[in-house]
């Protein structure tokens, strides 16, 4: 059963939300709504094995890559647009986080045999960080990335 080591650094699509900020300053509106930007990054190291499921008559091969134990670090940066920090306070603000932990992942992989090169299609699925709830409630949760890859396999012959 072939083993593999996989390193992934992902830039998932960020998201936008909103936050409410308040002030005591009588010269300013007592409440404003701010646009919140959430920018995530994920780095994962996986060690796993490939299970051969079947081979078609045309030599197309279907594998299932399984990484039962992987280590992932999830960094999330939060910013509020036009936030006047001197006068306003955001209620229940989201903050930056940098958390690591164990994850599990699996990926069905289909190799298309075509001439000297094999094309492949892979759908990589990963669990969120396997850890308890945070002490402080944030509007975002641990990420469970899903990645669809299409590519070529290049072979090196001595």
């Amino acid at each position: 059963m072939p083993l593999f080591l996989e390193l992934d650094y992902a830039f998932p699509l960020g998201s936008k939300s909103s936050g409410e900020a308040y002030t005591l300053n009588p010269a300013l509106p007592q409440k404003v709504v701010l646009t919140e930007k959430i920018s995530p990054y994920i780095f994962t190291v996986s060690v796993g094995f490939s299970i051969h499921l079947f081979t078609t008559k045309k030599n197309n091969i279907f594998y299932l890559n399984v990484a039962p134990v992987a280590v992932s670090n999830q960094t999330i940066n939060v910013s509020y647009k036009n936030y006047d920090k001197a006068n306003y306070e955001v209620m229940n603000p989201d903050v930056n986080s940098n958390e690591g932990g164990l994850v599990m992942s699996m990926a069905p992989v289909y190799y298309f045999h075509k001439g000297k090169q094999d094309m492949m299609l892979m759908l990589h699925l990963q669990t969120p960080l396997l850890k308890g709830n945070r002490d402080y409630l944030l509007s975002y949760k641990y990420m469970a990335p899903m990645q669809l890859t299409f590519g070529y396999n290049f072979y090196y012959h001595k």
Binding site: Y22, T23, E89, M91, P93, D135, Y136
Partner: protein, 207 residues
């Protein structure tokens, strides 16, 4: 027999340590204001502020049984001889720095809000979202060596959120309130960036 007693005492010590270490203090550092907790409205029972640029927080209790908890404020209506009574919200404070000396310069802070003689809990709830006019309320600090000796000045106060909650099976109720405050007592004591987030049992309020 002696050995059994020794084992029992060790077991008791271990259990005590486990019980005493349960629970966690609520404090969520604000990245923009060092030493202060974030402005929240989740009943975390925390209040932080700067007094002359030094961060202060309500202390936490570590009882033998029951884990760690932040101290709660006392919220009472004080009857006065004037046309108005006073809604007083008082809480103990300490410097939010574990390396600070045991001698604290201040013992507690009170927000003093003039209210009508027939002030009720309904009136308190109606303060939800109210930002009071500058200087409409007072603020007082008490010293550790004489609790009754206080200095009072002007304050700004904003009740961002006040709620009445029904808990569990409906037999218990609480008030949660959060907001912002600041103030000054003459030129010598400047209170800035104050924020609070409390949830207290309804039966602990005397109005």
């Amino acid at each position: 027999m002696k050995r059994k007693l020794k084992n029992l005492s060790m077991l008791f010590c271990c259990l005590s340590l486990i019980i005493m270490s349960c629970g966690k203090r609520n404090y969520f550092p604000d990245p923009d204001d060092p030493g202060l907790s974030r402005l929240t409205s989740r009943g975390y029972n925390i209040i932080t502020m700067y007094i002359n640029n030094v961060p202060y927080i309500n202390p936490y209790r570590r009882p033998l049984f029951g884990g760690v908890s932040n101290t709660l404020p006392a919220i009472t209506r004080k009857i006065t001889n004037s046309d108005f009574d006073t809604l007083q919200i008082s809480w103990q404070i300490e410097i939010n720095d574990t390396s600070a000396s045991y001698n604290q310069p201040y013992h507690s802070v009170s927000l003093l809000i003039p209210v009508s003689k027939n002030f009720t809990s309904h009136d308190f709830l109606s303060m939800n979202g109210e930002r009071f006019s500058p200087g409409a309320n007072a603020i007082a600090v008490n010293y550790p060596y004489n609790y009754s000796d206080s200095l009072a000045g002007k304050s700004n106060l904003y009740f961002i959120d006040i709620k009445y909650n029904t808990l569990g099976d409906g037999s218990r109720h609480s008030y949660s309130f959060s907001g912002l405050f600041d103030g000054n007592i003459g030129d010598s004591i400047l209170i800035t960036k104050g924020r609070f987030d409390f949830e207290i049992d309804a039966d602990k309020i005397n109005f």
